[in-house]
């Protein structure tokens, strides 16, 4: 529609993205307008005019004759019609950006650009790669969508669960990325976690009845709530048990708890709701000692059945130690050591170190902490692990 008005597909695409961005910003707060499609087209048209004006000004300055994108790839009017009609729907755009045919890195970049509305330069900065590299990553993702012939429409009913799962996974990766980057050694990079929460919130507004979307939003809020306490003054990682709970964000915790409490009984129960429920139990405990470990242990059991993840099994072993004592936990870990997915994994060593420390075997614990430190690829985590080992050795 906008393409027909302006004859420039790329500019129209950018304008639609801008409009969707505005929608994501305004709809959750102000409510969805009576005619969302018309609203989007109007906003997109306005943005397109702004863009064209800015572009003309730039061209005059630089005295460059910019060449228009050829419109012939939109030659088939019927397909064009359908495609742009569906593009008015932010949900379809999300499904497209998070398509399983894309690599996680491509899906993340495309989602932040097309749905999140970040500029390529902003995304490049957040991931600490040159802008040219990120621009290529985004354009390759778009290219991949074109060549694989993925249609611009809602997935079929049977495919929907899987595709929504891919969307949630990408949003969760963006959220976790926020705890990774920012100049390497430092832990928190607020922008990406905030961006992920914003996207999850928008998705929740679009699909209020989906319990897993609600679960993911709750999980993000309940995790992010603890972030002010996660690092010490020297930037070092502070374990959950040692965090100053007064620094936790009470508003985010109560919102997260309300969301997960609402979602769980409605079901179907999925991994994000269960993870959120576990996070809620941690966040609700006034002190580490008052943590409801029996319930956390039960929830890890549920999560293990849903995900079949060795890392979940590992967490369950730690929870078992908290309930039944370190010997029970170490026994559970010993059976996990044979899982090839965990072989040589630093978290296996870290969990073992933790339980050996609980059991009072300081030399073996220190050795396991050092083994874990040598295998992790997270710098703050390595600092934490070598520090634990050093403390035990200094005894």
């Amino acid at each position: 529609m906008l393409t027909r008005r302006s004859g420039d597909f790329a500019a129209a695409e950018d304008a639609v993205q801008e409009a969707l961005l505005a929608a994501f910003g305004q709809w959750p707060a102000d409510g969805v307008p009576d005619n969302p499609r018309g609203w989007l087209i109007q906003v997109a048209h306005r943005r397109l005019v702004e863009q064209i004006r800015a572009e003309q000004a730039r061209r005059r300055r630089e005295d460059v004759v910019a060449r228009r994108e050829p419109v012939d790839r939109l030659a088939a009017p019927a397909a064009d019609e359908e495609m742009l009609a569906d593009r008015d729907d932010p949900l379809v755009l999300l499904f497209l950006c998070c398509h399983p045919a894309l690599s996680p890195a491509s899906a993340i970049a495309l989602t932040l650009r097309a749905v999140g509305g970040l500029t390529t330069a902003e995304i490049a900065r957040a991931f600490m790669v040159p802008e040219a590299t990120m621009a290529q990553r985004i354009s390759r993702a778009k290219q991949r969508i074109k060549t694989s012939g993925i249609p611009f429409r809602q997935p079929d009913a049977e495919d929907r669960v899987r595709r929504l799962g891919a969307v949630l996974h990408v949003l969760y990766l963006i959220f976790n990325e926020g705890h990774t980057r920012s100049a390497g050694p430092h832990l928190r990079q607020v922008e990406l976690s905030t961006e992920a929460i914003r996207l999850a919130r928008a998705l929740h507004t679009l699909l209020p009845g989906d319990s897993e979307v609600t679960g993911l939003l709750a999980l993000m809020l309940l995790t992010e709530a603890r972030s002010p306490a996660r690092t010490g003054p020297g930037g070092e990682l502070i374990s959950l048990a040692d965090q100053d709970r007064r620094l936790w964000d009470a508003a985010a915790i109560s919102e997260g708890i309300a969301l997960v409490t609402h979602a769980l009984p409605r079901g179907p129960v999925g991994q994000y709701q269960v993870q959120a429920a576990i996070a809620a139990l941690h966040d609700e405990a006034p002190t580490a000692d008052e943590t409801d470990w029996p319930q956390i242990l039960a929830l890890y059991g549920v999560l293990e059945r849903i995900t079949d993840s060795p890392v979940v099994a590992l967490n369950r072993a730690v929870a078992a130690a908290m309930v039944h004592g370190p010997a029970a936990g170490l026994e559970a870990l010993a059976t996990l050591a044979d899982d090839p997915r965990l072989a040589g994994h630093h978290r296996l060593f870290a969990a073992r170190a933790h339980l050996l420390e609980m059991a009072g075997d300081r030399p073996a614990a220190a050795e396991a902490y050092r083994a874990a430190a040598g295998r992790t690829t997270s710098l703050p985590e390595r600092h934490y692990l070598v520090l634990r080992a050093a403390r035990l050795a200094a005894g």
Binding site: N176, G184, L187, R230, R347, S378
Partner: protein, 130 residues
């Protein structure tokens, strides 16, 4: 991170200063192409060629904290870092594949050098809450 790192034992090819001009040009062009390709695949984070051993200076802080500089060359230094790339790729296998490509940079007679390339992860994984 891909480190182009040699020692007398691992660099089994003549030093670049002794090559023919067209061989050097082909080598430089190959490196430039490599960077262009890695940019095009969206994987290049950083890449630098480093000055030769003759330009190395070793710096230590002195008693007053000021720099104490020792000028090269350092015949006792066994390993020498000629250059590096930081790539952001999907899998460790992909990093190995890129390293193999770089390793085959052309040398004398246009033959692949098959240089040793050290591949190491950058510490950038997300920490897990413990």
């Amino acid at each position: 991170m891909l480190l182009m790192q040699f020692s007398a034992a691992t660099a089994d090819f003549p030093e670049i200063g002794t090559w023919q001009p067209e061989e050097i040009r082909a080598h430089i062009e190959f490196m430039r192409d490599t960077n262009d390709k890695l940019t095009a695949t969206g994987e290049l984070v950083e890449g630098q060629g480093l000055a030769g051993p003759d330009q190395v200076r070793i710096v230590r802080a002195g008693a007053d904290g000021g720099p104490v500089v020792t000028e090269g060359p350092f015949p006792e230094t066994k390993e020498f870092l000629a250059g590096y790339w930081i790539v952001d790729c999907e899998t460790p296998q992909r990093a190995v594949e890129i390293a193999a490509g770089v390793s085959a940079a052309p040398g004398p007679g246009g033959r692949p050098l098959n240089m040793p390339i050290e591949v190491r992860p950058v510490m950038s994984a997300p920490p897990v809450e413990v």
